[in-house]
């Protein structure tokens, strides 16, 4: 009799693959909206037309621009005016330290942010100054000269004090771009920074209280507490997170999450940080996977040889 087993195997494999295709790739295609990456070019923002002057920029940032009224710049010895939870009570969220802003954020984004925060952050639906809903960051309306030149100077200054873009680590990227709103408990990260280990329980509790106070302000500001991102690399996946960072409105229309305005390089670092938190064993998985596959293939070959030997006498 003709051997029908290859045909039977083909039938089993084909039906299994059709089922897999329908419940996985096809269903996900229907269930989730597909957002293409725009490559972090921020095409909606105007290009910088002037070449910035670092010295002028310094004077603006430290003086007429009034940045340091709210922002710390630790890199040049300018500390924060308030503790984070106090700042959050005033502004909704702690204004970021600008030390590395020049390396983390896209220059076009920074320039637009200085002039019109709600526009650059894509939260104009939430902050409309004409309706009395001013964004907590006051727009810079010029220090008397050419505003385009002044903004370019400030951006140039921020870039000059920042670490080199290639020196931005995944941790620095995450802390600057995400860490003031999102906790990441699996890396001990809170919105106030990394939770230290305390010797006394009352100190630990005092820290927790500050975090809770901060989170209360943040909740009032954002509408809900932004989620802990510990497992986001598994629950959302790289593509979703990347396109969300690029423009939150593309993925979640109307969300209170601002556009972060990071460079493509920073976004990659953020993803890497999330992988380090939520998929720590990915390298080990690859390596062990390879060894297990080799072992199992050898097992299968021996099993096949054994079968052939036993069945020789049966035919």
């Amino acid at each position: 009799m003709k051997n029908k087993e290859p045909l039977i195997l083909a039938v089993v494999v084909v039906f299994s693959l059709i089922t897999y295709y329908l419940v996985e790739p096809f269903a996900h295609h229907v269930l989730h909206k597909h957002v293409e990456s725009e490559g972090f070019v921020y095409a909606d923002l105007p290009a910088l037309t002037k070449t910035g002057n670092v010295a002028n920029g310094k004077e603006l940032v430290m003086g007429a621009g009034a940045c340091t009224g709210c922002h710390a710049v630790e890199a040049v010895g300018m500390p924060a005016a308030m503790e984070p939870q106090m700042a959050a009570a005033s502004y909704g969220v702690n204004p970021p330290d600008l030390s590395n802003a020049g390396a983390i954020y896209d220059a076009k984004f920074l320039a637009d942010l200085i002039k019109n925060p709600a526009h650059a952050l894509k939260v104009a639906h939430k902050f409309d100054a004409t309706k009395g809903q001013a964004h907590p960051m006051a727009p810079f309306s010029g220090a008397g000269g050419d505003i385009e030149q002044e903004v370019a100077d400030m951006v140039a200054y921020l870039q000059s004090i920042a670490i080199k873009p290639e020196a931005v680590t995944p941790k620095i990227a995450f802390e600057n771009a995400c860490g003031r709103c999102h906790a990441l408990s699996y890396e001990k990260w809170t919105q106030l920074g990394e939770k230290p280990s305390f010797k006394y329980k009352k100190d630990a509790l005092a820290f927790d209280i500050k975090v809770l106070e901060y989170e209360d302000s943040l909740k009032a500001y954002m509408g809900k507490l932004p989620p802990d991102l510990s497992m986001y690399i598994r629950s959302r996946g790289e593509h979703f997170i990347s396109t969300l960072i690029e423009n939150p409105q593309n993925q979640l229309e109307g969300t209170a999450m601002p556009r972060v305005g990071v460079t493509a390089q920073t976004a990659e670092k953020v993803i890497e940080y999330l992988e380090d938190a939520g998929d720590t064993k990915r390298h080990e998985r690859e390596e062990i996977g390879k060894n297990v596959m080799i072992y199992i293939v050898i097992f299968a070959i021996f099993a096949l040889l054994w079968k052939k030997q036993v069945w020789k006498e049966l035919h």
């Binding site: 059709i18 996985e24 269903a27 598994r234 062990i288 297990v292």
Partner: protein, 404 residues
Amino acid sequence: MAHFTKATSVKDWLNQRLAIDTIEKVMGSEYWIPKNINFLWAMGMVLVITFVLLLVSGIFLLMYYQPNIETAFYSVNFTIMRDVDFGWLWRHVHGVAASVVFLIIYIHMFTGIYYGSYKKGREMIWISGMLLFVAFSAEAFSGYMLPWGQMSYWAGMVITNLFSGGSLHADGLVEWIRGDYVPAQAFLTRFFMLHVLLIPLAILGLIALHFGSLRIPHVNNQDGEEIDFEKESKRYLNGDKAGSKVMRFANDFMSKDMMVVGVYLIFFFYLVFYNYGFAMDPVNFDPADGLKTPAHIYPEWYFLWSYEILRPFSVDIGLIAFGFAQVIFVLLPFLDRSPNTVAANRRGLFRIWFWMMLINMIILTAMGKLPPSGIYSTIGFFAAILFIAQWIALPFITMFEKKV
């Protein structure tokens, strides 16, 4: 009392007390299997291996898992996935095996249906097998609750809600099952108990019954041939191994089992390391939140076909259709009125019935995951009607089947 003599060897010592030779014969070397079978007959062994993988990986996970709504998610996603050496490996093995075991169960079931292996004395094999399917389903569902992610919580909410019985409004029953008004601590602890103790015990008992039910009618074969096992086994034992229509379970059939298992394990471990997403739903990596319903709630893929039979109708009719779908497979040996125990391709109309059933269940599975609106809802509705109609038609189309 039996008469014991001084043992000549360890084996003899054991033999006098435990009759291990007899056991070996009954279970292995003189457990006769027909020769005219194909690799689909190895699915039983593949299921045993998968069950062992689930059991062993489950034992390791149990050492670190915490059945507490405050810590369950953390114990799974931090302690097991990050802290414990190879915890991630055990979890991936457990998660993937829990999904793949159903693929093999479905292949095993449809093999049985195709070759008529539920007829003429083999009814109990089929019924015990279907009871195993029910037990595995309960095991899968209860296990899915344990990571206490978003899908655990909301699937738990939806499925326990089914017990309110639609217009019967048996809300008291639902609360009794949950131990609370909503899934909470009592719910998690009891599903933990079910998952690690009660249902595994039931599964072990049912596996014993399933194997036991095979002894008297013997394994079916792919040609529907009635084999005289007495005569053929004598022929084998007299040395005519090639001429006999039967072979030993061990090592003859076992060697083929192991060959299939080898191929299966390549596939299995490929999934564990490189393609596990289908078995570990992304939504369940968000911690449970009773105030945030996920956009789409769907069960794991192996429950989708019956979920889709529930969905396209109004509540009460849907529940009746769902109940029908749950029990109807058990009744197959009695609904199939044909005298033929042969492969479906020799059974006229039943052949069409078989392939339609298989394809329709795949359609139901696909529609079960998609949002119940527009064209998908319509397809699902007609597929569900067809499913029910096919079962109602089965006794009639088999009644007039010609004897082959």
